[in-house]
């Protein structure tokens, strides 16, 4: 990937910068534009409404209009706010969610950084989000923001544990932390996916693994939901209690940054789930490029499958959001510590035993 860019631009540093910015401009920004509208449309149709219909055909340009409105808005900083932290917070939150994209394999030829400790890096770097949220909540000098930020910190820190345990399960099976390698292992057909026990390889173990992989998937999905502060775990911004939580005082583009990072984060965690359990960028039915004999089509197909799977899980997140009520802050902890972690640990043990068979 970088070789191609270096060839085009003739300079390695420029190539790296462009390579790093590629997911942002090629995928994340369009995705957010699309996902914000998608969220509104999904929620509207689930609620027997129409959703935005005014800007463009069926409102497809609604998010663009919103963005323009946000750009024009006055940038309000409350007098009592801690200016530096207040201004910095949205960028740190976005940094946290964008940094995760570096290790996500979009396709066999495009991965921001093919580091060996990919999944570990993502777990670590996504904790940056907490710092940003805490900063924003504290600097706003608003009691609601502070309560939201405190809740958020507690929540994200707690939910990293079940995530880590499930990831550990997967790492145990696949024997690697590199997301690209994990994707490559689940090659060709959907019965090789990890959710169907593909990683362990053959025969009876594979069938035995299936229920436990499903459990692992459910746990990972729930805890990633919590990490991105989506319903039913959206208590940091629980609008019926805390108005808007940590971003109550933000307006204009800074608010848009929070919004952007929320949606970027949604895709990031979906991408992790897809990579770990649903074959990453691998096609479920084999490649058209192979059967037609066009080798360059394969990476494109891979990109398509990866994005399609990721978007599907984003849709599931939205679906959940518009179905479920919100948990209370202590129940959130109960779900994490009393339910998810024990199940995850048992799952880890059982999967370990099975893979030894």
């Amino acid at each position: 990937m970088y070789d191609i860019l270096t060839n085009i631009f003739g300079n390695q540093i420029v190539a790296y910068i462009i390579g790093a910015a590629l997911p942002l401009f090629v995928w994340i920004l369009p995705f957010v534009l699309f996902a914000v509208l998608g969220e509104r449309k999904v929620s509207a149709h689930m609620q027997d409404r129409l959703g935005p219909m005014r800007v463009g055909y069926h409102g497809i340009l609604q998010t663009v209009a919103d963005l323009l409105k946000l750009l024009q808005k006055e940038d309000i900083v409350t007098p009592a706010a801690d200016r530096k932290l207040f201004n910095l917070a949205p960028y740190i939150v976005f940094l946290g969610s964008y940094a995760a994209f570096a290790a996500i394999p979009f396709s066999s030829i495009y991965i921001g950084s093919g580091i060996e400790v990919g999944i570990f890096y993502i777990l670590a770097v996504s904790s940056f989000v907490v710092v940003g949220i805490l900063m924003g909540g504290w600097a706003s000098d608003n009691k609601y923001s502070l309560l939201g930020a405190m809740r958020s910190a507690a929540q994200i820190v707690s939910y990293e544990i079940p995530t880590a345990i499930v990831v550990l399960t997967l790492v145990m099976l696949t024997g690697t932390l590199n997301l690209n390698t994990i994707s490559q292992q689940q090659t060709a057909y959907f019965w090789n996916w990890n959710i169907l026990g593909g990683a362990a390889g053959s025969g009876i173990t594979q069938i035995l693994l299936i229920p436990f992989m499903v459990i692992a998937f459910v746990i990972l999905f729930i805890s990633t939901l919590a990490e991105v502060n989506r319903t039913p775990f959206d208590i940091p911004e629980a609008e019926s209690e805390l108005v808007a939580g940590f971003h109550t005082e933000y307006s204009g583009m800074k608010f848009a940054m929070f919004f952007l990072s929320e949606y970027a984060n949604m895709f990031a965690v979906s991408a992790i789930v897809v990579t770990l359990f649903f074959g990453g960028y691998q096609s479920p039915f084999g490649y058209l490029g192979n059967s037609l004999g066009i080798p360059w089509l394969i990476p494109v197909e891979q990109l398509f499958w990866f994005l399609a799977k990721g978007v599907f899980f984003v849709f599931v997140q939205m679906w959940l959001r518009w179905t479920l009520p919100r948990l209370r802050v202590d129940q959130l902890m109960t779900v994490c510590w009393k339910y998810l972690i024990p199940y995850a640990v048992f799952n880890l043990l059982i999967v370990g035993i099975i893979s030894l068979l």
Binding site: A238, P325, Q331
Partner: protein, 374 residues
């Protein structure tokens, strides 16, 4: 110097009057210990419109549009309560047709009011979708009302001695269709919200209102019934023609937690909607012929005297106390609003809960600030 001790103090959090879930312009002054509630002080009066004083300057029929604006989610029931009070004062006997139409309207209004209560309760807990389903169904009821009297929210429909309009020729058919349509929707609401595990976790065992506290505070309506007392003025002190219909009074049974918790209050309302449908079903077939304007007096001029008359509103006991000095204006009018009384118990039942629970408790009391402040 004395020994230095670490001093902690409560966090004072001002919730409202502009807040997404205070159901209007209620201001709550919360004393928090972390996120635990130590004390709740409701500050009311942001929507005070001097209904009682205003009524003294109005003639009796002119007061009816003002009663609409007290509990604006149950205007029909308010109209009914006021009309019954003045009729009792004057000794008017209204025609049978009027009585039947009034009961149907009041029960449809009860369903509409409960739909708002349940829907907004869902929003308070964080489920947005049931809210829109509830409002979708409420719109159907409002359309029935609009067809009958021309207004969707503030009807001025039930007059002293009669009604402003007779029902529309299509009303009976459309109401029957609505009853058919609405039954499955209650089941859907139960599937989506009532029996959802998260919803139960959020509401069961939260804000338990023991029966004796409820009675001491004068709590009425679904809140009192959720605490386990079968007390419904439609049965206990029948007015209009409620004694002719067959319906049950749902009470809180502590199915998911303790008797009198928020879930019980919620579920009593769901069950009451079913009972209201039963009443509507029975009444709609029996509407006799008649003239709805027959008993409307030309001039409403009650004799000297006073009366306290009460009806079972969707939110509880709505009482009108009227003193008449024999003129066309009431000499004094006092309203016992159920929301106001039900709100007073808030501090008692929300101590020791979290802020999130306070929202759940406040939502389950189902207050309408128009009636709290009047």
């Amino acid at each position: 110097m004395e020994t230095k001790t670490l001093k902690t103090e409560e966090l004072i959090l001002n919730m409202g009057p502009q807040h997404p879930s205070t159901h209007g312009v209620l201001r709550l002054e919360l004393e928090l210990e972390g996120e635990l509630i130590v004390n709740v002080k409701p500050h009311i009066g942001y929507l005070h419109r001097c209904f009682e004083k205003h009524a003294e300057a109005m003639t009796y029929p002119q007061v009816v549009p003002y009663t609409d604006r007290m509990d604006y989610l149950a205007s029909m029931s308010n109209n009914l309560g006021y009309a019954i009070a003045v009729e009792r004062l004057m000794g008017i006997k209204v025609p049978e047709r009027v009585e039947y139409i009034r009961v149907i309207m009041a029960e449809l209004q009860r369903i509409a009011s409960h739909l708002v209560a349940l829907g907004t309760y869902g929003v308070d807990i964080g489920a947005f979708t049931p809210f829109l389903y509830c409002f979708r169904d409420r719109e159907k009821i409002l359309s029935l009302f609009e067809m009958t009297c021309g207004a969707r929210l503030l009807y001025n429909y039930i007059w002293v001695g009669g009604l402003s309009h007779d029902i529309h020729p299509d009303f009976v058919r459309l109401t029957k269709e609505f009853v058919e349509y609405f039954r499955p929707k209650i089941v859907e609401l139960n599937e989506l919200l009532s029996f959802n595990k998260i919803f139960i976790e959020r509401t069961a065992n939260i804000g338990i209102l023991p029966l004796d506290t409820a009675i001491n505070y004068g709590v009425t309506g679904p809140m009192l019934r959720a605490s386990g007392l079968k007390w419904d003025l439609r049965k206990n002190d029948p007015y209009s023609i409620y004694d002719r219909f067959d319906f049950d009074i749902p009470v809180g049974e502590g199915e998911k937690g303790t008797v009198g918790d928020s879930w019980d209050r919620y579920f009593v309302r769901v069950q009451e909607m079913e009972q209201s449908l039963r009443i509507v079903e029975q009444a709609i077939d029996q509407i006799p012929e008649g003239n709805v304007h027959e008993a409307v007096p030309k001039r409403v001029k009650p004799p000297k005297g006073s009366i306290y008359s009460r009806v079972e509103n969707p939110k509880g006991e709505l009482g009108f106390f009227i003193i008449s000095d024999g003129s066309v204006n009431p000499f004094r009018m006092k309203v016992r609003g159920p929301s106001f009384v039900n709100l007073s118990v808030l501090n008692e039942i929300s101590k020791g809960h979290l802020v999130a629970d306070l929202i759940a408790i406040l939502g389950s009391t189902d207050i309408v600030l128009g009636e709290v402040d009047r």
